[in-house]
Symmetry: C2
Subunit: 96 residues, 2 copies
DNA sequence: AGCGATTTTACCGTAAAAGATAAGATTCCT
DNA sequence: AGGAATCTTATCTTTTACGGTAAAATCGCT
């Protein structure tokens, strides 16, 4: 996680979790009990300082009764799956 | 990761990654070069034997030019975000 | 069957996630 | 201002992801 786009991703996901939690009026302590994830760990995730595992995100989404997609919702290629990034960094080149 | 639903989640996500990779005609070795994730690690993820970090999934999605949502696409509450799980396991009870 | 490519598995080392706990720092009250 | 709840940060321990490498296993091929 040295990358810059990755830091943004973590920050965005964390912000969405925090917003969802706020809407439901849950404290970190309450969400910790519901998920089995400690409050300090949740805090780190919500503030984008930790790179959570897939099942960790899943437990958070489940506890708050929202889809994983709701929490992740990446801004980049968000839907169609048929969009070509014009020149987005990687180039398959000789491979493929 | 002792849970059963979590093992299913990892298996599902792994299967989707493998399918996407197959469609694009990439080998593990090629995807490894594109993502910076080793081929053995990718193999473990695709076979549901590893619980990947968020940025790891993101790098895989980016390399294959698909959205994170495409790869994750949880089956449970998959979209609307306004669906109430009738009694899906957790009960907020006194909290909330 | 045999060969090459691809994939899986095993082992080791490093880094980082996650739990527990405690101590600060904030925020929100009255 | 003072106090309580909430959130953040730090430290320590355990677990696990990840890379590298190498060895098996599997899967086309002709």
């Amino acid at each position: 996680m040295v990358d810059d786009a990755e830091k943004k991703l973590l920050a965005d996901v964390g912000r969405r979790i925090r917003e969802t939690r706020a809407v439901q009026g849950l404290s970190l302590e309450q969400l910790a009990r519901l998920t089995g994830i400690s409050a300090p760990a949740l805090s780190l995730i919500e503030t984008g300082k930790r790179d959570p595992r897939l099942t960790t995100l899943s437990r958070i989404a489940d506890a708050m009764r929202v889809s994983l997609a709701t929490i992740i919702a990446d801004g980049s290629h968000t839907a169609k799956a048929s969009d070509r990034a014009p020149s987005g960094g990687y180039d398959l080149g000789e491979y493929q």
